[in-house]
């Protein structure tokens, strides 16, 4: 309710205000202290650089977004699937959770040599890495959401003769939705990051690849341009899921 009531335009205005303040500080700092580009380039320089390299950056962003989106979708499916499996067969919990935690407690980059080895240097290894990172977050959020259900409400559903699946579909999933969506929202930014980081370890294209090249050429304006593009993409992605969240969670 409260969300619907808040004037969106005001929120947007404030968001823009925050961004403007930040950029002004940044610009002032870089210009005022005459920071060299390899410490912190000025925003204006970055924007100029961004414009001049726009073709390359757009290509790279498309490449990275493809990896991130596919990996994200896959990760969500896996995470939700595992959570649902656990909800339907609680015996699986003891098997899946520790394994998932163990796998997830190693940084994804740690697997990169193995993943790159197994899936090659192309798009598929990035997708696998993103899916791994996303699926765990989604699994945890979803499980927490599923467990949050009121036991009496479960009892009520059972008394209607609802199967495990019926309880899941009509009661536990809606209850879990707020937490699931929060997890999915957090995962959006991670998916882009993981794609970029993996690209930096070996890729044929993408923003991470651009950043990697730029670092080697000590071209920090280009590094920051790529980061700007990545941020914009993540932000859009984050906003999209946030929008979906507000649509789906009308009752909160």
């Amino acid at each position: 309710m409260s969300r619907a009531l808040a004037s969106p335009s005001l929120a947007v205005q404030r968001g823009i205000l925050g961004a403007v303040l930040l950029i002004a500080c940044w610009e002032g700092l870089a210009r005022g202290l005459h920071l060299p580009a390899y410490v912190l380039p000025a925003v204006s320089d970055i924007l100029v650089g961004l414009w001049s390299k726009r073709a390359i950056l757009i290509d790279a962003a498309g490449y990275t977004l493809l990896e991130a989106l596919v990996g994200y979708g896959l990760g969500c499916l896996i995470g939700i699937g595992l959570a649902v499996a656990i909800a339907l067969a609680p015996a699986l919990r003891a098997a899946i959770l520790p394994l998932a935690t163990a796998i997830n407690s190693v940084p994804v980059v740690g697997y990169s040599p193995l993943i790159l080895l197994w899936f090659g240097i192309g798009v598929s290894s990035k997708i696998v890495m993103v899916a791994m990172a996303v699926s765990f977050t989604v699994l945890l959020s979803m499980l927490a959401g599923l467990d949050r259900v009121d036991r009496r409400a479960v009892d009520l559903m059972k008394s209607f003769g609802a199967s495990r699946f019926g309880v899941l579909w009509r009661l536990r999933l809606p209850t879990a939705l707020p937490l699931l969506l929060a997890g999915m929202r957090v995962s959006t930014v991670r998916s882009v990051i993981v794609a970029i980081v993996t690209e930096m370890l070996g890729a044929q294209g993408g923003l991470g690849w651009v950043i990697y090249q730029a670092v080697l050429q000590i071209d920090f304006v280009q590094v920051w341009s790529a980061i700007f593009v990545a941020s914009a993409a993540s932000l859009a992605f984050f906003g999209l899921i946030g929008f979906l969240e507000r649509k789906l969670l009308f009752w909160t």
């Binding site: 060299p36 390899y38 790159l116 080895l117 930096m200 370890l201 070996g202 044929q204 000590i218």
Partner: protein, 313 residues
């Protein structure tokens, strides 16, 4: 030497390994201390740019990527100076299977070649150009960490340093089943592992720089004299390393450090001709945007201040 040891740090281009044995030996044996330097050796890592850290003053000395990265840094206006060159010749080679389809550089056409885009790609392009092969005729791909794709036959040609990947490949394929392409055979030399300091350091603390070089050279001489001991010292810093590989690495590194002009002029010699060749090469291929003042970028005065006898291995 001053009564109070002066704090300084050396930023390596990578993690501790025999490639840097001399510095570790010098530190372990107290050579830096004897010169009045309290030296910390900081390892490198992926996406850590030694030039950057030295330019900003985070580290005093740096063992940076090579002539290529020094050029790039100077080109971008980073105030660093090269005070010595470690590997006098190109430290990497291009490896293929002896019984495979690739016999000459001409055969690279249409084949899958993996390489690092950290400078090795330029060397590859240069070699291909010399033979009249256009770069887009070859499937050049970024090389990943593992050599397994090559061993499995998914890649026709792989890039390898003498001291690391080449060892790994040999541990999995007999050496005589491999064929190598060496840059020098095509008139390209690509000196790497450059010692750098900030311009300010070079100007304001020349004695510190000289002292550092003296101590380091002593360390390297000791390392070559007693390779086993040197590997022990390195492995004390990184115990999980593979000893056999480290010993192999030290042997190869010695070869690279004492090759070319160093045989006559001693280690860390700055071979002005090699530097000029590399510079012109990069200029030609557009890796650097404008001609650089090589005298300002490569200051041989520091290394020359050390008596030749102390430089010869």
């Amino acid at each position: 030497p001053a009564a109070e040891p002066q704090k300084a740090s050396l930023r390596l281009k990578w993690l501790p390994q025999a490639q840097f044995a001399g510095f570790y030996v010098a530190a372990a044996k107290g050579y830096y201390k004897a010169e009045g330097i309290d030296l910390t050796i900081n390892p490198g890592g992926p996406n850590l740019l030694t030039e950057n850290l030295v330019a900003t003053g985070a580290d005093t000395f740096g063992l940076s990527g090579g002539t290529d990265s020094v050029f790039a840094a100077r080109d971008k206006g980073l105030p660093i100076v090269c005070i010595g060159v470690s590997h006098q010749i190109t430290p990497f080679i291009f490896v293929t299977r002896k019984d495979g389809p690739v016999k000459t550089l001409q055969d690279f056409k249409g084949k899958t070649v993996t390489t690092w885009f950290t400078g090795a790609n330029h060397v590859l392009n240069g070699m291909l150009a010399k033979e009249g092969v256009k770069a887009d005729e070859v499937k050049i791909q970024p090389q990943q960490v593992s050599v397994t794709p090559f061993v499995d036959g998914n890649v026709d040609v792989i890039t390898a340093t003498y001291y690391n990947e080449f060892y790994t490949i040999q541990s999995r394929m007999p050496k005589d089943s491999l064929k190598t392409f060496v840059a020098e055979d095509y008139g390209i030399t690509f000196p790497r592992d450059t010692l750098i300091v900030a311009e300010a350091t070079a100007k304001e603390k020349p004695e510190l720089v000289k002292a550092f070089l003296r101590a380091s050279l002593k360390g390297w001489k000791d390392a070559f004299a007693d390779p086993k001991g040197a590997v022990d010292t390195v492995m004390a810093a990184a115990p999980t390393l593979d000893r056999a590989q480290q010993e192999f690495m030290l042997t190869e590194v010695k070869r690279l450090m004492t090759a070319g002009a160093a045989a006559k002029n001693g280690m860390f010699w700055i071979d002005a001709d090699a530097v000029k060749t590399a510079h012109d090469f990069f200029l030609k291929y557009g890796v650097i945007s404008k001609p650089l003042d090589l005298v300002a970028a490569y200051d041989a005065s520091f290394i020359q201040s050390v008596p030749l006898a102390d430089r010869l291995p």
